[in-house]
C-alpha cells in the first residue's frame, strides 16, 4: 500500500480541534508560577521547565507522526523544516522559520515571531535569568530523541528578555543507530 502523502502544517491545524490560546497561555503561566513558588531558584525552574518539555516531547512526537504522515527524514535539514513548518503549526498554530545552518548541516536556528506561551506576560525584575519558554526546548529535544536523534537545544534570542524574536538553536549531537535484538550473541 503506498504511503499517504505528507500533510502541511496548515492542513493539519485546520483539521484538528482547537482551543482558545488564552486557556493555553494562562495554564502555562500557572505552571511557571507554581514552579517559581516550589523551586524558588530561577535556574531550577529553567531546568524543570526543560524536563517538563522533554516529558511532553516524548509523547507528542507520536501524534506529530500520526497526523503528518511524514516518513523518515532524509537528513537533519529536512527534520528542522518539519519541526518549524509542520510541528509548530499543528500544535501552536504558529509558523516558524529555519535559518543559520552551519557547514555540516547539523546545527541551525528555529525562529518564532509569534509565541502563544507568552501573551500578556512580562517578567518582573525578580525573575532575571528565567527562560520563560524553556518548555519548548525540552519538547523539541524529547521529540527528536524518540526518533533516534540526540540534540542540544538552547535559546539564542528571547523576546521576554528584550530581543526581537524567539530563536532556538538546535544542534544534532548524535544519530542513534537502530539496534537489532540478538545481534550480538553471547
Amino acid at each position: 500500500m503506498p504511503p499517504a502523502a505528507p500533510r502541511s502544517g496548515d492542513a493539519i491545524f485546520a483539521s484538528v480541534e482547537r482551543v482558545n490560546a488564552e486557556l493555553f497561555t494562562l495554564t502555562y503561566g500557572a505552571i511557571v508560577r507554581q514552579l517559581l513558588t516550589d523551586l524558588e531558584e530561577v535556574e531550577e525552574v529553567n531546568k524543570q521547565l526543560d524536563q517538563m518539555g522533554y516529558n511532553i516531547g516524548i509523547r507528542l512526537i507520536d501524534e506529530f507522526l500520526a497526523k503528518s504522515n511524514v516518513s523518515r527524514c532524509v537528513d537533519f535539514k529536512e527534520t528542522a523544516e518539519m519541526i518549524a513548518k509542520v510541528g509548530f503549526k499543528m500544535f501552536l498554530g504558529v509558523t516558524a522559520s529555519v535559518m543559520n545552518w552551519d557547514a555540516d548541516g547539523t546545527c541551525c536556528s528555529i525562529v518564532l515571531e509569534d509565541n502563544p506561551l507568552v501573551d500578556f506576560v512580562e517578567l518582573p525584575d525578580t525573575c532575571q535569568g528565567l527562560y520563560y519558554c524553556n518548555i519548548l526546548s525540552g519538547v523539541i529535544r524529547g521529540a527528536l530523541e524518540m526518533v533516534a536523534m540526540k540534540t542540544e537545544v538552547t535559546w539564542i534570542r528571547d523576546m521576554l528578555r528584550g530581543d526581537d524574536a524567539y530563536e532556538l538553536q538546535v544542534k544534532l549531537l548524535k544519530q542513534v543507530p537502530e539496534e537489532y535484538p540478538y545481534k550480538d550473541d553471547e
Binding site: 482558545n20 488564552e22 486557556l23 493555553f24 494562562l26 495554564t27 505552571i31 501552536l92 512580562e122
Partner: protein, 202 residues
C-alpha cells in the same frame, strides 16, 4: 511574581472568527488566537504529572490543581473585565454565576456550560454541569484513585473568578453517574461563603 503587568488592549475574543491568522489590532500584534486541543492537553497532563510528584495523597493533588486553576481564574476575570470596558462590575450573585457559566466558559472552553442549577438542599449551593470537561477529554482516571477529579483545576478557575469578583466560595468538582451512560458527567459544586448569601441573592 509574574503578573499581567500592563494589560494590553485587544478586541473581544468572543467576536473573533474561528481559525487561523493574526488579527490586526492597533499597537499590538497578536499571536495565533488558537492552539490545538492537543497542545493544551499535553500541557495539562504535564501539570498533573508534575503535581503528582509534589504530593503524598490525592487530596493534596486536588488542592494543588485547584491552586493552579485559581491563578488562571483570577487572570481571566482581569482580562474579561478589562475588555468589556463599558460593563459595570457584577454585583449580583446570579449575575456572576451567569458570567461564569456563559462568558468565562465560552472564552476558556469554547462553549457555554451545559447547565447552571441551584442546589435544592442548601441555599448557598449552585452547580455548573458538563457532560465532560474539556480538561478531561483524554484522561482516564485509574480505578485506584477513587473519586479523584482533574476538574479540580476548573473548580479552581471558578473559585478564582468568583472570589476576585467579590463572591468568596468553596468550589469542588465531582463525577456524577448518569443512568444509561457509561461515563459519568461532571458537576462543579459552588458553595458560597456565608457573607455572600447573607447579602441576598437578588
Amino acid at each position: 511574581m509574574i503578573g499581567t503587568g500592563k494589560i494590553k488592549q485587544y478586541a473581544n475574543v468572543l467576536d473573533k472568527p474561528l481559525g487561523k491568522g493574526k488579527q490586526e489590532v492597533p499597537s499590538l500584534s497578536l499571536a495565533s488566537l488558537f492552539v490545538s486541543l492537543s497542545a493544551f492537553a499535553f500541557l495539562f497532563s504535564e501539570l498533573v504529572q508534575y503535581n503528582q510528584t509534589q504530593v503524598d495523597n490525592i487530596s493534596e493533588l486536588e488542592t494543588r490543581l485547584e491552586d493552579a486553576g485559581y491563578a488562571v481564574g483570577a487572570r481571566v476575570l482581569e482580562l474579561l473585565c478589562h475588555r468589556d470596558k463599558g460593563n459595570r462590575r457584577e454585583t449580583r450573585l446570579l449575575g456572576i454565576l451567569s458570567f461564569v457559566h456563559s462568558t468565562v466558559w465560552k472564552v476558556l472552553f469554547g462553549k457555554v456550560a451545559d447547565s447552571l442549577e441551584k442546589g435544592t438542599e442548601h441555599e448557598d449551593e449552585y452547580m455548573i454541569s458538563e457532560k465532560e470537561l474539556l480538561v478531561n477529554r483524554f484522561i482516564s482516571i485509574p480505578k485506584d484513585m477513587g473519586t479523584f477529579h482533574c476538574g479540580a483545576f476548573v473548580a479552581g478557575i471558578v473559585k478564582g473568578v468568583l472570589e476576585n469578583a467579590g463572591f468568596p466560595a468553596v468550589v469542588t468538582a465531582h463525577f456524577v453517574p448518569v443512568e444509561g451512560q457509561q461515563r459519568p458527567r461532571t458537576t462543579i459544586l459552588i458553595k458560597f461563603a456565608e457573607e455572600v448569601v447573607c447579602l441576598g441573592v437578588g
